[in-house]
């Protein structure tokens, strides 16, 4: 059509050279031919007769919906706790001291927290019956967000109703397809799921290895120079944890800040284990290193460890946090946190603010047991000396992962039978990106006395000797 018009214009002007007209003429003839020729159909399998189709449908056999699970699968039979999982816990009928629940500050059975929750129960009932956008926002939620923002000294905070969903919804809200995320190998599963949901390019760097990270950043820089227009719209993020759940050590935050400004990458910090543990007042790893909190773009934590409630929160500048109110999936499309849990969290924050010396006490206890667990033949301690969540790994593997898991289970059972409740760290073997080796989780809480810490250490030593030799 276009070349018809141009042909006509050129022809009428009479100024066009001959070859121009011939070319246009050929084009028009070609178009006429295309219009009238038969289209070429790809041979499809739709030349199957209906009878053959029915046969295919008859013959097809799907897999069973789920593969059968053997009765002695190590994860099938749960430890059942009778009563509350407090300091003294009853596991499978046996009374033990609890070294397995992340109740770092002992707020799980604090009377003040319980009475705050009771008052809230009387006023609001249990559930909120709606997401935040549709009458699910209660004044306790607003108060909790306010208190958390003040405590962490940021502009704004946002609450989620489930700890796992917090970081898993926060990452996809900012990082989309085409963006680049540099994440530590030892990142926890919730971060991995958030990254998967975001569909961005993931670049793993070796655990806590800043030279490896810098190498990746430099590679990205050279890529950018090849295509500057694309680089101008590709967002970059680094996702790290304050205190890693899988390895018990902390990230080198000052170096990360330097890298942030050098390569213009934003930092998302996951502080589930370090909130309420590190720092002079429990504000986490930024207080521990004395870093300005505005240098971190987003801090995400869950309230299920130190605050002994349920749920999670993200805090940071309003510029960043406000975006999640419309694009955080776990925030917009899910019911809000039950008010009694929010009230419990507020009361727990009050206690944290009024007693800043519990953090020192907790760290002293961690150091004590870290020292006491050194030197056990066959087991080595993985984690910083001030980390309340340690791992005990086998020095050498005994063949296969299955064997290691069985041995560790025997150690755990030995301890549980003699009054110390421990658990193995659980992973989904097929789903993790970098599967950590099997280990026993040892959790230190403020409520454990020194005798109990010593007893636990000596019992583990005994167990290791009896099982591994």
């Amino acid at each position: 059509f276009v070349c018809c018009i141009s042909f006509w214009i050129l022809f009428s002007q009479g100024k066009a050279p001959a070859y121009h007209l011939i070319l246009e003429g050929i084009l028009i003839l070609w178009i006429i031919r295309l219009i009238f020729s038969k289209t070429y159909k790809l041979q499809e399998r739709s030349d199957l007769t209906p009878k053959e189709k029915e046969e295919l449908i008859e013959e097809w056999q799907p897999e069973p919906l789920v593969p059968p699970v053997s009765k002695d699968h190590p994860a099938l039979n749960y430890n059942i706790v009778s009563g509350p999982p407090t300091h003294k816990i009853v596991v499978n009928g046996k009374e033990c001291i609890n070294f397995a629940s992340f109740n770092f500050l002992g707020l799980l059975d604090n009377e003040k927290v319980k009475s705050a929750a009771q008052a809230s129960l009387k006023k609001y009932g249990v559930g909120t019956c709606g997401p935040r956008g549709f009458y699910g926002t209660f004044d306790v939620h607003l108060e909790l967000e306010d208190r958390l923002a003040k405590f962490m000294r940021t502009e704004e905070a946002i609450i989620y109703s489930y700890g796992f969903a917090t970081i898993a919804s926060a990452i996809p809200a900012y990082s989309k397809r085409g963006d680049i995320v540099f994440v530590d190998e030892a990142a926890c599963f919730a971060i991995q799921k958030g990254l998967q949901a975001s569909r961005s390019n993931i670049k793993l760097f070796k655990h806590n290895d800043m030279t490896d990270l810098e190498r990746l950043l430099k590679e990205q820089e050279t890529e950018d120079q090849k295509n500057p227009r694309k680089a101008r719209v590709t967002r970059r993020f680094i996702v790290v944890e304050g205190l890693y759940m899988n390895t018990g050590d902390i990230c080198p935050l000052p170096e990360l800040i330097k890298l942030k400004y050098k390569y213009k990458v934003r930092i998302f910090l996951e502080e589930s284990l370090s909130f309420g543990v590190l720092g002079e007042h429990g504000r986490g790893i930024t207080e521990h290193f004395g870093i300005n909190i505005d240098d971190i773009d987003l801090i995400s934590a869950n309230m299920e460890n130190s605050l002994a409630s349920i749920g999670g929160f993200c805090c940071g500048r309003s510029f960043i946090i406000d975006h999640q109110r419309l694009s955080g999936q776990g925030y917009c499309f899910s019911a809000s946190l039950p008010p009694l849990l929010a009230a419990a969290a507020i009361e727990a924050l009050n206690i944290m603010e009024d007693n800043p010396d519990i953090f020192q006490t907790l760290r002293a206890k961690c150091k004590r047991i870290h020292r006491a667990l050194q030197g056990i033949s066959g087991l080595r301690v993985v984690g910083e000396s001030f980390s309340p969540a340690l791992h005990l790994r086998l020095e050498d593997s005994y063949g296969s992962r299955e064997n290691d898991v069985k041995l560790l289970k025997r150690i755990v059972d030995y301890c549980v039978n003699r009054g110390i409740a421990l658990t193995q760290a659980r992973y989904l073997e097929k789903e993790e990106k970098c599967l950590p080796s099997p280990s026993i989780r040892v959790v230190v809480t403020v409520e454990q006395t020194e005798q109990e810490l010593d007893k636990a250490a000596s019992l583990i030593k005994e167990a290791a000797e009896s099982v591994l030799n």
């Binding site: 449908i57 097809w60 799907p62 919906l65 699970v69 994860a75 059942i80 009778s82 009563g83 509350p84 999982p85 596991v91 397995a100 992340f102 799980l108 319980k114 929750a117 009771q118 009387k122 006023k123 009932g125 249990v126 559930g127 909120t128 549709f134 009458y135 699910g136 926002t137 209660f138 004044d139 489930y162 796992f164 969903a165 919730a190 799921k193 949901a197 719209v233 967002r235 970059r236 934003r266 505005d294 299920e304 002994a308 409630s309 500048r317 510029f319 406000d322 975006h323 419309l326 999936q329 776990g330 499309f333 899910s334 019911a335 009694l340 419990a344 659980r426 992973y427 989904l428 789903e431």
Partner: protein
């Protein structure tokens, strides 16, 4: 989004299924006269539906669609104008800005992504996120909130608006209550257990309360075993990836909830979408999948799973379960039913859509639901055969990495379920279910009579009332609040751009007076805002709106 076979010139299309026993022909003659839209599907229609299934998806007159587009157009033009003025400093920028030190970083948000939020949503933002300060029962107290700068910031005056009728919270059976007698056991358990768990199910987080709850849920639904999780959204997003993976096919309804879509995407399986509640579309997809196999490699699919919901929360439509089950049996697919809104809300004793259609719970492979809506708590469950639940206990992401449900919430579910099952010695549960049914039918009938366009099934307690034009969204919600009624309005992107709506959630706790107050207010407001678009009101089809049910003998 409206019934796909509807004619586009505004005629009413009643999606009217009538499949009865061959025995009972006489009782049905009256209704046969109006069966304009009886669908014939491929399966034998003898005993499929045991009672009439009426759904409405009336299309609005053409002028309404035109005016809606005009409304959005005007809003967009003004949006561009405002953006222009803001960019040139003629108008104050009200949004938070990036830090000075980070101004040379790649911008975090694209300007055009937030165009809709900045210019259209911001104008009527005061209708969402309204904070309340009482229990979300049939009436609640709202915190009074005013804005001095056209919704950019809000300020609380400190006053509360008392006893606003609640038509927005998902409180179908009225279990969101603060009666100390009702909450006696919850108070006791809270005192005993505290609020936290601090561990995952597989480590040290399984309490005896969870075991009790799971046994009760399995008994309630009539299946072998069940497993509970701490969050309803997470139940879908963390268990679908455990059940399906690469090489599997997911057939998902067009209007499925975000949690189902997220779970399907995270699983890595191939996703194909069928038209909403359209069995021909589903059958075609099933046939094509089995005949042609996986794309390109032509290998057979490992398994095919169909994701549907019991009641769709934005439409109010109920899934056509009998037909889906017969399709699934014929083509050997698996069925995952998300009963977030339908558990407790439909069915003669509140057992959900399976009971509503009189079917066997064993026909559905995976029964999933949430406790947030009808039980006034939080969390979700998956139930089915023991093999399925054992697999989830070992392989679900939630069991390994996420905290378990907290004990007072579990106790609330236990007491609500015992009440529903009659195990607490009263008939209160059954009364609540019946009251909900009565309220639903009354409310829908009156709205039809008044001439509003209402979507959805006659038995669904979710009632969407169509508003269409963007200007009316804000006006409707604000005026209803002035009359002391709290409603929920929804617009783009949760609904198609031309079909903004107000959504009412009827509750068993609503009294007849409250419903009448709401209906009178709606009548008045409907005339004022000209919302009564329906071309058909009660007088022309009295037979379709009677309240008695036809009881068919089997």
């Amino acid at each position: 989004m409206a019934n796909p076979s509807a004619v586009c010139n505004g005629h009413l299309h009643h999606h009217h299924h009538q499949k009865q026993n061959n025995v009972l022909k006489s009782g049905v003659c009256k209704k046969n006269g109006i069966t304009k839209g009886v669908k014939k599907n491929g399966v034998t229609n003898g005993t499929l539906y045991k009672k009439t299934f009426i759904e409405h998806f009336e299309q609005a007159p053409m002028y309404v669609a035109v005016l809606t587009f005009v409304g959005f157009g005007v809003g967009t033009i003004f949006g561009y104008l405002r953006d222009f003025m803001r960019a040139w400093g003629l108008e104050k920028r009200n949004v938070a800005q990036e830090r000075e030190q980070q101004k040379d970083f790649v911008p975090l948000y694209q300007d055009f992504e937030n165009f809709y939020t900045r210019n259209l949503y911001m104008r009527i933002r005061d209708n969402w996120n309204r904070p309340i300060c009482s229990v979300p029962g049939p009436q609640f107290d709202l915190m009074e909130r005013v804005t001095d700068d056209y919704n950019w910031t809000f300020r609380f005056t400190g006053r509360t608006i008392k006893n606003v009728i609640n038509m927005g919270s998902y409180n179908y059976l009225g279990f969101a209550e603060t009666d100390p007698n009702a909450l006696k056991t919850v108070t006791k358990e809270l005192q005993k257990y505290g609020t936290g768990i601090c561990s995952t199910r597989q480590e040290m987080g399984t309490l005896d309360k969870h075991v009790e709850l799971e046994n009760l849920v399995a008994k309630f639904l009539g299946v072998e075993d069940a497993m509970v999780f701490g969050m309803g959204f997470a139940t879908n997003s963390m268990n679908i990836p455990a059940l399906v993976g690469k090489g599997c096919l997911i057939l998902s309804d067009e209007l499925n909830h975000t949690s189902l879509v997220l779970g399907a995407r995270l699983s890595g399986a191939t996703i194909r979408i069928f038209k909403h509640n359209n069995m021909q579309s589903l059958e075609k997809l099933l046939r094509d999948a089995i005949i042609y196999g996986q794309p390109r490699s032509r290998r057979a699919w490992r398994k095919i799973i169909i994701l549907v919901e019991g009641i769709y929360s934005m439409e109010g439509s109920i899934v056509q379960l009998p037909e889906i089950v017969s399709l699934k049996k014929k083509y050997k697919a698996y069925l995952y039913l998300d009963e977030a809104h339908s558990i407790g809300a439909v069915g003669a004793t509140g057992r959900g859509v399976v009971e509503y259609f009189g079917m066997n719970p064993d026909d559905v492979d995976v029964l999933m639901g949430t406790f947030t809506k009808s039980f006034g708590a939080a969390g979700g469950y998956i139930a089915g055969k023991k093999g399925l639940v054992d697999f989830l206990r070992t392989h679900s992401h939630s069991a390994v990495y996420a905290t378990s449900m907290c004990p007072p919430v579990a106790e609330q579910i236990i007491r609500a379920m015992k009440c529903l099952m009659g195990l607490d010695g009263t008939t209160q549960g059954l009364q609540r279910v019946r009251q909900l049914g009565k309220n639903t039918r009354y409310f829908r009938r009156r709205l039809h009579e008044m001439g509003f366009i209402i979507y959805g099934n006659d038995d669904s307690p979710v009632v969407p009332l169509l508003l269409y034009m963007p200007g009316k969204i804000g006006a409707f919600a604000r005026r209803m609040l002035e009359k002391n009624i709290g409603v929920v309005v929804v617009g783009f992107p949760a609904t198609p751009i031309t079909e903004s709506r107000a959504r009412f959630c009827v509750s068993a706790a609503h009294t007849r007076e409250m419903l009448d107050t709401v209906l009178n207010a709606l009548d008045e407001l409907g005339d004022f805002l000209q919302l009564k678009y329906s071309r058909y009101s009660k007088s022309s089809h009295p037979e379709l709106y009677e309240e008695n049910r036809f009881e068919f003998e089997d």
